[in-house]
């Protein structure tokens, strides 16, 4: 069959690639999404670096840092130097109580003389939720069925589209308004709009802004509130409920091979608070380095792996364990046992560790402080994918 080959040299395959590439229709770059996520990741890295430095220095004043925060505010932003601040003015319009043409939220973002009008709407026929700005693209940001599954006071969906951050939510019929507090100290009010059998709210904000706190009201009565982790809202607390205590703990650190010759240091911290748990890796190279979940999403069947990277050289792993567990032990063929300390973060045991690709893990076990084996299993710890 050799005579039939369309590629018989490197030039031929280059030409074929060239033709294929020219057919690709590539959308516009998601500048705002990337900037917003990058800024959040940078903040998380700074937190991780700071905590690691404190730990290494032996000045474990983490509890003090946590107590310094108010229970009514988002995590403090690290100090940074700015040359030219960009100021946004956000508006949310009060629409009629019943959606027209599916539009349940509308507003504007003004900055440096430019004003963009945005809308969030749904289409019962397509079953989708859309966002867009007047005169620009329409973006599909969710589907009605999944978004409409109401849990408690509100089910919040974070969204980012070109030029904006934001979120939308299905709220309980009891909710008459939601007050949003933004990171630039703006205050906005959302009013639910009925559409497709649910009550909806939504907002878009300017680049780099995020909601720090949101409060749901029924008339003048507060129904619940959420404190976000740099804009990520996991769940609403009842009035007076404080949620998880603020804690910032290093749950693991070490070295990981980056390639055949180089190693790289890493550390992992968990930042607990009224937003839930947010995990930040510092130094992990091959994957996203942040993951947040609510207390309800924490499962402690033994060990729940929520992060793994670098399959060629090994894995970064994070697990949750029962609070009674003091450490995990991995039994590896032909090597000494590996003992992994478990750190308690508000009643949940967290551990972070790495495994190398050539390890043959024969079994694992969890031990309490007295050295008593609590539970375990054959082979490597079972990996439970996070449900999100």
């Amino acid at each position: 069959m050799e005579w039939a080959m369309p590629i018989d040299d490197e030039l031929a395959i280059r030409e074929r690639f060239e033709r294929v590439l020219s057919q690709l229709q590539i959308g516009p770059p998601p500048v705002t999404t990337v900037l917003r996520k990058g800024i959040v990741m940078r903040i998380g890295q700074r937190i991780a670096v700071g905590v690691t430095a404190v730990t290494v220095a032996g000045a474990a004043a983490i509890a003090g840092i946590s107590l310094a925060h108010s229970h009514q505010s988002s995590p403090a932003q690290p100090v940074s130097h700015h040359h030219r601040p960009v100021v946004f003015t956000d508006r949310i319009m009060k629409l009629s109580p019943v959606a027209r043409d599916g539009v349940f939220a509308e507003g504007s973002v003004a900055s440096e003389g430019r004003t963009s009008v945005w809308r969030i709407w749904l289409n019962s026929r397509t079953g989708k939720v859309y966002e867009g700005t007047v005169g620009s693209y329409r973006w599909t940001v969710g589907n009605i069925e999944r978004s409409g599954h109401l849990s408690g006071i509100a089910t919040i969906q974070s969204t980012n589209i070109e030029g904006f951050g934001g979120s939308y939510a299905v709220v309980s019929p009891k909710v008459t308004s939601i007050v949003l507090y933004l990171s630039d100290h703006e205050r906005l009010t959302e009013y639910p709009v009925a559409a497709d059998g649910h009550h909806w709210v939504g907002e878009l904000t300017g680049l780099g802004l995020y909601v720090t706190r949101e409060v749901a009201y029924s008339g003048r009565t507060e129904l619940g509130y959420a404190v976000t982790y740099y804009g990520y809202s996991m769940y609403l607390l009842r009035p007076g409920e404080r949620g998880l205590a603020r804690q910032l703990k290093t749950i693991g650190s070490g070295y990981m091979p980056m390639n055949a010759r180089r190693y790289r240091g890493w550390s992992a911290v968990v930042h607990a608070g009224p937003w839930g748990y947010c995990l930040t890796w510092n130094g992990a190279s091959a994957s996203d380095s942040q993951y947040c979940f609510s207390p309800a999403q924490v499962e402690v069947p033994g060990i729940k792996v929520v992060e793994r990277t670098s399959p060629r050289f090994g894995h970064y792993l994070v697990g949750t364990a029962k609070p009674s567990v003091a450490d995990l032990k991995l039994k590896i063929a032909g090597r000494p046992d590996v003992v992994i300390p478990v750190v308690d973060v508000d009643g949940v045991g967290f551990c972070a560790f790495t495994t190398e690709h050539y390890w043959d893990i024969e079994s694992w076990a969890a031990y309490d402080r007295a050295g008593q084996e609590l539970y375990g299993g054959a082979g490597a710890p079972h990996v439970t994918r996070p449900s999100g």
């Binding site: 390639n259 091959a286 993951y291």
Partner: protein
């Protein structure tokens, strides 16, 4: 909120300029435009988070490509946050699927049949047109390894049923 506009502008310029090339590179690695955009986005988010370091690198493109290669090795990871990524209109993705036919489908099928390492070498060498040394640096391996992987990959592509069948397209 106050944002360092100069840095934002610089990164935005970098991103807008590199986005099409990065998505094409991701497409070569994954064979899927949606995944390619995700990979490019992940890499740019990480580059944005470390922009102070990336901008000082002698080759920022290489830095971002490395992140994409590593991320692609690990596509089974969990999501970072419970958030919907809406970086591109799905309407475009749907259009792309419809048009993913003919020579392009055949070439991608052949490419996807290669092991990940060989595919990465082919994409970097013959798609991105990098030198053997630059390919080795991006993959974190030796030049000799790039040569051997590349030779094996080309040998397999020559025997690929998709490309044999696609000979007519090559003549268009």
């Amino acid at each position: 909120v106050a944002v360092d506009a100069a840095v934002v502008d610089e990164f935005t310029e970098f991103m807008v300029a590199r986005w099409p090339a990065l998505v094409r590179f991701g497409y070569g690695l994954t064979g899927d435009l949606g995944l390619a955009e995700d990979l490019a986005q992940i890499a740019l988010v990480r580059a944005c988070a470390s922009w102070h370091r990336v901008r000082r690198a002698h080759d920022p493109d290489s830095y971002v490509r490395k992140i994409m290669i590593n991320s692609n090795r690990n596509r089974f990871r969990g999501r970072r946050v419970p958030e919907h990524l809406t970086g591109s209109p799905p309407e475009l993705a749907a259009t792309d699927q419809i048009e993913a036919s003919g020579e392009r489908a055949e070439l991608m099928a052949a490419l996807m049949s290669l092991p990940a390492g060989q595919r990465a070498v082919v994409v970097l060498r013959y798609w991105m047109d990098l030198s053997e040394a630059a390919t080795a640096e991006a993959l974190g391996c030796s030049v000799g390894n790039v040569k051997s992987q590349g030779a094996r990959a080309l040998a397999k592509l020559r025997l690929s049923a998709e490309l044999v069948d696609g000979v007519g397209h090559a003549d268009r």
